[in-house]
């Protein structure tokens, strides 16, 4: 028994020492950063971002934000690293505060927190570091030194709804959502409104799967919708949406004449829809986080940092858009979509944010 306890003690010691070692490693870049901003390049504007748990290459908003920052860096002759542009990845929710603090201490003039998951962390750091300039994507933080960035997902989804309503042959389209959270509900509301505006007779079959990472649920749901007669499904469900693509592709593979389509989300998902020489991707609703990040960075560089404000990007400023359909949508439908787009931009149509 005594021996075993000794062993346990030893392993505990080992475990704590590795943990401490890990802490030590994290300290180092900070120290390096402190000395790093000694060379006084006051005029150079530097910008950095903290990802949420999705990671820098999530094919979604983190990746898009980083692309915006890289573009900003290139256009302003910045280099990756201190005094230029950089990012830190968060492995878990616990990293948000540390990462934000880390970047501020390294002297970045503007630090982005990406994703609504970081709302709390950004608010806390903004209070602790009133001098720092922060920005958050997909959430609102009411602090004088935080710029909040939102998107009108409903406007992009509206156009997708128009496309679906005009392209459907069965008179039935589907919407597969991830979790019932405000962002996804904006997609649903916009999609419904778009279908309604283009052709009120088209039926919309809506189902939430309750998860963003369960492809099998997406597949079964899509199977149900296609079986029930829907021919176009719009998904806003992250990796669950992979299953929607799988189901559509399988049907297309079995019967090349099958009329099944998927509308992708966030990024252009054309590559995911490839079946041999054909493709089941009708189009994708793009969320241009990169444009927003670029825009905010430019404003901040010019001394016009919109601290305390909430900026909403919609169709008008290319914050949301429809991806190239590569011929899947006919010319006359594209023209009608463009018409609706102009009406939204001109304010003649207001797309609802929530489903009544």
């Amino acid at each position: 028994m005594a021996k075993r306890k000794f062993g346990l003690g030893l392993s505990l010691l080992l475990a704590s020492s590795t943990l401490l070692a890990a802490c030590g490693e994290e300290e180092t870049p900070e120290v390096a950063g402190d000395t790093g901003d000694e060379p006084t390049e006051e005029e150079v504007f530097s910008v950095a971002m903290v990802t949420d748990v999705g990671g820098i290459d999530d094919k979604s908003f983190n990746q898009s934000a980083w692309e915006g920052i890289q573009r900003f860096g290139e256009d302003n002759n910045l280099e990756q690293g201190d005094g230029g542009f950089d990012y830190l990845q968060s492995a878990s929710d616990a990293d948000y505060n540390t990462n934000l603090n880390n970047l501020i201490r390294r002297g970045f003039d503007l630090v982005f927190g990406i994703g609504f998951l970081m709302e709390g962390a950004v608010a806390e750091i903004a209070q602790q570091q009133p001098e720092a300039q922060l920005a958050i994507i997909d959430a609102v933080v009411e602090e004088p030194n935080v710029a909040s960035v939102l998107f009108k997902e409903q406007e992009g989804a509206f156009l997708a709804g128009v496309a679906a309503a005009l392209m459907t042959e069965t008179g039935k389209v589907g919407f597969v959502g991830g979790m019932e959270i405000p962002v996804i509900e904006r997609f649903e509301a916009g999609f419904r409104a778009g279908v309604e505006a283009a052709n009120p007779d088209v039926e919309v079959d809506v189902q939430y799967t309750g998860a963003f990472d369960k492809a099998e649920l997406g597949k079964t749901t899509a199977n149900r919708m296609y079986s029930a007669g829907a021919d176009i499904i719009f998904h806003a469900a992250g990796a669950t949406g992979n299953g929607v693509f799988t189901e559509a592709k399988e049907r297309k593979e079995q019967d090349p004449d099958a009329n099944v389509w998927v509308i992708g989300v966030d990024a252009d998902q054309y590559d995911q829809g490839a079946v041999g020489d054909t493709n089941v991707t009708l189009t994708s609703v793009l969320k241009r986080v990169d444009n927003a990040v670029y825009d905010i960075s430019t404003m901040a560089m010019n001394g016009e940092f919109p601290g305390g404000e909430t900026i909403v990007y919609g169709l008008e400023d290319e914050g949301v858009a429809l991806a190239d359909s590569r011929g899947a949508i006919t010319e006359d439908v594209l023209a009608q979509i463009e018409e609706f787009k102009q009406q939204i931009v001109a304010g003649e149509i207001t797309v609802p944010e929530t489903v009544e």
């Binding site: 290459d57 999530d58 094919k59 079964t220 149900r224 990796a239 995911q272």
Partner: protein, 314 residues
Amino acid sequence: MGLLEMINFIVPSAIFYAAPLIIVALGGVFSERSGVVNIGLEGLMVVGAFTGVVFNLFFVDVFGDATAWVSLIVAIIVGMLFSLLLAVAAVSFRADQVVTGVAINLLAVAATIFLVKKLFDKGQTDTIAVNFSRIDIGWFNQIPIIGDLYWTSILAIVLAFIAWGIIYYTPFGLRLRAVGEHPAAADTMGVNVTKMRYIAVMISGAMGGLGGAIYAQSISQDFGHATITGQGFMALAALIFGKWHPLGAMGAALFFGFAQSLSIVGTSLPFFSEIPTVFLYILPYVLTILALAGFIGRASAPKANGVPYIKGNR
């Protein structure tokens, strides 16, 4: 949806969902019947899914339409090799089997995502071009209810019966069970406990790899951090729910699949659509708890499960 249509939908999708779970759970049956607790099923699935997808992507030009099947074989081999980590630690070095299993799970996710980053320079792989689809044979598709099946689903069910035959009706199976119930007795009768346990763990590695590769190639079609999220644990639950019996594990996995498809088809049924969706989300888990607590009775593990065998110790 009429009743017949509903059954026509629920049964194939339940079997489809269950197929990877059945296979992985069978692997767990072998390992646990020999006395090695295998929490690492999830990790083995991750490795299998990764191997299947990556091999599929790189060798699709070589094997053409057969790529998905060749990928399964490769995933089996890699899963086996990966499970050797568990075998060496748990059998030879008598490490705590639960802790080792957890380590396998952590290692598998971290290592595969790391490799994906190195190979593809992004967070997930591309989408595979050749995958498993529904069986496409005219006369077969005409059969009601099961006409919508996948080859992989049939493979899973056949494997369950084979595993049942092996474990209960062959000398190998008898030795396997003996080693899991009372290794000292088996040892005195000349059964090599270490060897049996190594073989059993490697079978679980092979099945874990196979299940993961089937999942990735029939459902997600790419590999990333969100590909395998808990299916291995569902398989583990199926194994316990099925009382460490191959056919029981199969039944349990099918039951999970049934609950899962019911939760999806539910929204379009007249009665179910009144229920708030959150109750449909939790339906599979609630049904499982109810079944475990109420109908199955006490589930008893093999006696020597989780206990390293030390020769000469009583």
